[in-house]
């Protein structure tokens, strides 16, 4: 898969031909193509944004592309995650995205990570890449991306959407502001696509703006969106750029408590305690044998009834309360805490499909 990178002076003819239309641009040229081929980019998330970013990076001839995503393809992804087809439902997105973009350009070296990003694997994976692209749908993991990029001194291109609006910015670029400088809080609520609606073209366009910033950074051309937040409204076609004021003196990145996120599928397959921190009566109810419900509001008092040595997998509805619960328990000395991605809804979905007739686990509605 890996090709030896050609040197500037003897560009192989087939590669020259493949990239001729971008090499022809005076801002790119042979030296620009060389920069692209020598660069490495990690794309975090192969969902809506990732499906837009990845084919353009590969087609442009980025030397090495990493794709990290622990998710599998679902039918409800297909309207916006256009790299995938119906026959790929159930397969890992990272691998399928890699196969798809290799069809366009087999010279690109692709590293596939079929796992969700955590503080731990971020520290292992990020050093291998020049540039990080945040194509996640998760507010919390963005702080892991930010803090890891700050500690390793790597820029990252942020993109995210809310209904018909998208935000794009480049953080930690040449001493510029970080995400935490703009949004220091991480305990507030913001829904992801699982809950909020999204049109495929919105993630498509925002992802492409991210890919565009990545190419500009690598090619060292144009004006990079560092110190600026672009908000694109696709209903009105308006673009507004907000400038960050003076960057406050950089605080040391907060030490993240490395709560590992696991998929609902993984959670369902284990025997360990699944802790539901939603309030009593919240729907959908999850009545699996190893589920215990301790609402966040009483968790501090009730935590004495939990075993500190035991592995606890926490879930709620959207992921906000489960993280608060994990922090709270961690402060009380619990060591073995994991968060279940997708919350009660995903858990229930996998419970329905995974449970075998003879399984100990059961589901009651």
């Amino acid at each position: 898969m890996e090709t030896k990178l050609p040197s500037y002076h003897h560009f192989p003819e087939d590669e020259m031909n493949r990239y001729i239309r971008q090499i022809t641009l005076p801002q790119v040229g042979l030296s620009g193509q060389q920069k692209l081929m020598e660069s490495s980019v990690l794309v975090i998330g192969a969902g809506g944004l990732g499906c837009s970013i990845l084919p353009y990076l590969a087609a442009a001839g980025i030397g090495r592309i990493g794709i990290i995503d622990g998710d599998r393809i679902e039918e409800s992804n297909l309207h916006r995650q256009v790299l995938y087809g119906a026959e790929q439902i159930g397969l890992f997105k990272a691998k399928e995205a890699a196969d798809s973009i290799l069809k366009n350009n087999s010279d690109v070296e692709i590293l596939v990570y079929e796992e969700f990003l955590t503080q731990k694997n971020a520290n292992q994976i990020f050093p291998d890449f020049d540039l990080i692209l945040d194509a996640t749908d998760n507010l919390f993991i963005r702080y892991v991306i930010n803090d890891t990029c700050v500690s390793l001194n790597k820029p990252f291109v942020y993109g995210s959407i809310h209904q018909f609006q998208g935000q794009v910015s480049v953080f930690n670029y040449q001493g510029g502001p970080s995400y935490r400088d703009i949004f220091p809080e991480e305990n507030q609520s913001a829904p992801n696509c699982a809950e909020a609606g999204v049109l495929g073209t919105t993630v498509g366009l925002i992802g492409m703006l991210q890919a565009n910033e990545a190419l500009k950074i690598i090619l060292e051309i144009g004006e990079v969106l560092s110190g600026k937040l672009l908000i694109y409204d696709l209903l009105s076609n308006s673009q507004q750029v907000f400038e960050f004021g003076k960057v406050p003196e950089r605080k040391k990145p907060e030490i993240q408590i490395p709560f590992e996120m696991i998929s609902a599928e993984e959670a369902i397959q284990s025997e360990s305690l699944l802790l539901d921190v939603r309030e009593m009566g919240e729907m959908p109810a999850v009545h699996l044998e190893n589920v215990k419900q301790l609402p966040l509001s009483i968790l501090e008092l009730e935590s004495v009834n939990l075993d500190k040595e035991q592995e606890i997998k926490i879930f709620c509805q959207s992921g906000v309360r489960s993280r608060k619960a994990a922090k709270l328990l961690s402060e009380k000395g619990f060591q073995n805490l994991k968060l279940i991605r997708g919350g009660a809804k995903d858990l229930l979905q996998f419970a329905e499909t995974e449970i075998k007739p003879n399984s100990k686990r059961s589901i009651v509605k």
Binding site: A135, L139, S160, H162, S189, I231, Q240, E243
Partner: protein, 78 residues
Amino acid sequence: MVQVKYFGIIAEAAQCETENIAEENMTLSKILSDLSSRHSLGDYNFQIAVNRKIVSNLSEQLLEDGDEIAFLPPFSGG
């Protein structure tokens, strides 16, 4: 007149994307606390920009006719 723009989840909370405030000689902090209580924005995370510049210090800055305030929450969809 000061124009206020809401983005993302803040626009949903405020149930509008823009509104105009006619009162003059208001400080930024006063306008923000008024809007925050009127739209119950206390639980949300956002930055404030005045005339397209994000302001970290929500001071006693007086707003002038034609100024634009924007509420910028982080987005999280992808």
